[in-house]
Symmetry: C2
Subunit: 433 residues, 2 copies
Amino acid sequence: MTVHPSPVLRSLASAQPADQAAVRRSNLALVLRHLGARGSRSRAGIAADTGLNKATVSSLVAELVDRGLVREGEPHRAGAVGRPGKDVALDGRCVGGIGVEVNVDYLTAVVLDLTSTVLFEQRVALDVPSLPPEDVLDAVAGLTSRAIRECERRDVLPVGVTVAIPALVDVAAGVVAFAPNLRWRDVPVVRGLADRLTGPLAEHPMPIRVANDANLAALGEHAMGGVAGTADLVHLTGGMGVGAGVISGGRLLGGAEGFSGEVGHIQLDPAGHECGCGRRGCWETLVGMAGMLRLAADADDPVSDPALGLDQRLDMIRCRAETGDRRTLDALERVGAGLGVGAAILINFVNPRAVVLGGYFACLGPYLLGPMRAELRARVIAPDIGGCRVELSTLGFAAASRGGANAALEAVFDDPAIVPIRSAARVSATGSG
Amino acid sequence: MTVHPSPVLRSLASAQPADQAAVRRSNLALVLRHLGARGSRSRAGIAADTGLNKATVSSLVAELVDRGLVREGEPHRAGAVGRPGKDVALDGRCVGGIGVEVNVDYLTAVVLDLTSTVLFEQRVALDVPSLPPEDVLDAVAGLTSRAIRECERRDVLPVGVTVAIPALVDVAAGVVAFAPNLRWRDVPVVRGLADRLTGPLAEHPMPIRVANDANLAALGEHAMGGVAGTADLVHLTGGMGVGAGVISGGRLLGGAEGFSGEVGHIQLDPAGHECGCGRRGCWETLVGMAGMLRLAADADDPVSDPALGLDQRLDMIRCRAETGDRRTLDALERVGAGLGVGAAILINFVNPRAVVLGGYFACLGPYLLGPMRAELRARVIAPDIGGCRVELSTLGFAAASRGGANAALEAVFDDPAIVPIRSAARVSATGSG
């Protein structure tokens, strides 16, 4: 598959010096990114696309093959004359990025290879808010160890771990500043995990990072979702609250301190329902899961049973909608309209190419899209909603962990030379193709 | 002065190939940007900062001196030993960027040199909405010609013109799609100006561009305002409406189609005042100039006289506030609080390091800041307002034209080689310093 890597979680780009060694590394990265973004290519095609000369491309490709990051394809005849050329393509199999998500009632870990193929994915139920953070970190470390062992079993080099948490995260310090739904405050996640993973990290030194789940979900969509490669997108996660992640100009908009995307408490109506934040009519009182349930069912309705799992609850709602239950359909129509009212603010402000509905919005999307789009047409100032389309996430609840794994893989796209040369049998680069 | 150039109005950065000629140009640009951002430096200091070797830096500096973009400073002794070194610094004098603003009741043109020093600035009153766009473009062309002639008179090479308009602008096409306050729709500004400036453009071929005024104002603040160099900032322009410009990660957030920053119609209260857009309680009904006046004075009050100029009106309001007029103070307090309610939404979404109040907000800022900050403290989710400070613009109504001129100068920072070698007397680069 085609992947769309994007710079992540690091200080934003500035002009870089270019001495000879740096040029080589930067060109290695250029070719690898190019193959990641554009798929299989002949050496001549890479040269034409990147402006590098053919001999340089052949040498760079040979090094990337040696590092196990690129493979030769089948010979083909590009035109009527000349020797048959061989395309080269990203070889995902040698490195793995690990994404872990900590959420209210589950942990997920995923390993993606360089082509975003899933090598490992595991979800475990955990009542996170009821546990001390130390116990949760024990469980996270256990799940991460399993992911690393799976990499070892497959002879895959793990290159990084990114933990997604619904929280205000100090990315630079590796600390969760505040996660209201988890009841965490000032939890040093990176240090805590590094302390618990000294064994595996000694064997596979790699960075551990922690970031906001909505931001990572946006990265996941940008890397491998239905709108992959879209340079300007907003991802909205529907859960207990509603969070936003923004990709702008192909880069994550993290904000000055990484605290971007807090959109749940946009006050849409000072006379609206009471919110947990103490105000009334916040966006999430209207479109968060609790708000949707309040509209769709009474408190003693089975669908409101707190013991119900997330998937079961959504299945019940969807089933009622499918069978034409009036109250459910009305509720979803109001949630869809509420999504449009809030999303119009975001679209007017940042003019994205796409808004992706994730989390529970994706599950119930077919009932939300119509009323949402009607509000957008009425409220977005730019003609034709500013060229923005609304899509349902194809990743659903997996977007954040996938985004985390993709973020970890960025290290390889930034500097392919971090992956050691695997093969002594250096592939000859004769400049063919 | 120190300037903070930032990429503008062009497709966002992606990995670039680096062959030898490209490396030279990219390194020229690197050194020029470095001097622009950091001020005067020794060659050794540039080498240390950029990672380039000293001989390369000397050769690059020599070329930049030849192109008139860098000058030698006075000799100094960096330490106790060694030959005295000479610092080098940006030499702004040889090139000029032209910024033009078209607004409801005036046109402005400004010429800035490479150090953002003002070489020329002229404002002419014009009742733009009452004129056909053709007539306005005639006036804009006349003012731009005057700016170009001033460049000629000073032996300054004009490198571009950027026109700021309060409008939805199709930057790529050079067309104003819709400017409600000017009553413009689908006006081909770039073509119209190029047609009117064939003479000057034949002598000085240079790009003409058009962009949204709030976006350019944000660039102006980033380049030369009180928060210059701040990588993440939001600029709010107070006028008839309220517009936002966003700098994110040091780059303008233009959006997918350049339609970002439309924040005036965020609906803060469905039960609020009627807005020109047909809804109620939009942000600009509360904080736009008309909303402020409605609070501060009756319709027959002299301050509400439509014949009054902008500056006079603001002087009267400020004077009343200074003398403690209760109604005026109450009005400004409510406008300040309204600013806080709306700005909290933007801050929660993009987590800027600074919000800059421009336009009329800057004039009356001392009365707005207190109540605004109180609302922000109550409404921004991240602790300590997410590390965001609120500042009054030091550029005021000049921010957009300054931003336009800075945008035009970016061409030089991107590729210093567009400026021809001026001096046959090549300055020797002996690697001293």
